[in-house]
Symmetry: C3
Subunit: 206 residues, 3 copies
């Protein structure tokens, strides 16, 4: 129950973030809806397809479909006032990726995958909706260029496996990983910490 | 038989539209062939992969492979005269999306999916080949920005489920949905009706 | 054993090529790692997902995961001196696509697919990692515009099926196809042969 509420809050934040980017690109209502959808479920869809869980999760859970459609409508209707929700949305989003990370890891574990692959699945679940959103909007994905975002998920994933042996109660582990992810992201945003960009002039290798 | 002819006409229209966009981007013959292919089968491929129908449909039906390759060749050879076919191609394309919509819906029904998901699958089958074409050509997908295209498919899908209980003969339902999709698209193009674009300045939320 | 060494050399070349393109786009270390990964395993992942081999291959073989991560690190650390490796990397890459082509074809054969689809799977395995790399970097895929690259794979694939009946020992066939792909690519690069680009002004068809 507790986790489902978080999951829904995360989905709302992702869908609204997608709708806002789409409106910034002057899309029509259909485009806004699709981008909201892809942002919210894209990471989990990629994960499911690559692991072989099909039909993919969102097709079997109408709650999320309704939440995403409503969030997109909401974002469109209140697009001029949505800045007031800035902080709430940022918080939902941050809580959302922490949950998605753990969901992705556990999906990988159930499929019998190696811990490193599970961490990759967790990060993909949390981050690749945003990657697909940016590709559809014809931008280089923002998480490849700045922001401690994926990094927080990866560190959360490592924490998960380091502590796995000490916790019989998965719920506690869940919460600890969530706190790690959220803390790293909040600190990074608060102090404007980001990974350095690397640069190599194109000299035509390959 | 009747439906297979329509299906092939639709595939021809999609493949040629892909080849034309690729040539507009100054691609080489290989690029033109791939874009023709992706435009024609991309939507159905995404649908199959997300539902779990694998190997995906076009791999098991060589007719379509041959049709697509021939269409791409044709578009390349006659690229200077193809404008004369303008109206025929537009018609094939419109008939094509109406058929693809129904095919996508029925694929979803066979997989036991919720009506709303089935409509999404129908729209995806009809429209996402064009989305993938635009992504590969480094453009924001045109159906997210203008044209009543996806909207016609969605309304056709809703019609399908509203009338499903009244028709034992699926073929009649097929034709009615097709007429709905085609009519909406023709009217929209004739009277230059399009969805309004939405706009929200980027103020850095999330 | 011999083939595994080649496979690893090819993976190294692909991962480094991805890392270099990512750095040219001023990405951060996370972006560089992801692009390296996608370039190396993207083609095989698409192939596996479309055929229905899931979890996809690289999730079940940690060797490649370690090789890719190490290659990305290496490319980042030595990015200023990597030009000295120009020729070796080009050679690894060329040997890599010849092997990937055969691997893709044989994967298709095992799945019982038509020879034409098998050739497509071989070409996809060899070339679509680079296509995904370019899409994530917001470029029109380079293999759609110039270079005899996919063409070499396609001709290698055709050679495979022309000679299939004459060879009981698959290893010899493997080597012949490899030599064909490598020779075509080397000749094309040496003499700067490329496919002509096609052009068709956009006159608004469809």
């Amino acid at each position: 129950m507790f986790f489902q509420v978080i999951d829904i809050l995360g989905t709302i934040a992702f869908a609204i973030s997608g709708a806002l980017v789409a409106m910034n690109k002057r899309m029509d209502p259909f485009g806004v809806l699709i981008i909201a959808f892809v942002t919210a479920v894209g990471g989990g869809t990629l994960r499911d397809v690559m692991i072989g869980i099909e039909p993919v999760s969102w097709m079997r859970n109408m709650t999320f479909v309704y939440v995403i459609i409503s969030s997109a409508f909401f974002a469109v209707l209140f697009r001029k006032r949505i800045n007031y929700l800035r902080k709430s949305l940022f918080l939902f989003d941050t809580i959302g990726i922490s949950l998605y990370t753990v969901v992705g890891i556990e999906t990988g574990l159930v499929a019998g995958l190696h811990p490193l692959i599970c961490i990759a699945m967790g990060t993909m679940t949390a981050c690749f909706g945003g990657v697909l959103r940016d590709i559809l909007c014809n931008e280089i994905p923002v998480i490849f260029r700045k922001e401690i975002y994926a990094t927080a998920c990866i560190l959360g994933g490592i924490t998960y496996f380091l502590l796995l042996q000490f916790f019989e109660d998965r719920n506690i582990l869940f919460v600890i990983v969530g706190v790690v992810v959220i803390t790293i992201r909040l600190i990074a945003v608060r102090y404007k910490i980001s990974l350095p960009t690397l640069y190599k002039k194109d000299e035509g290798i390959l």
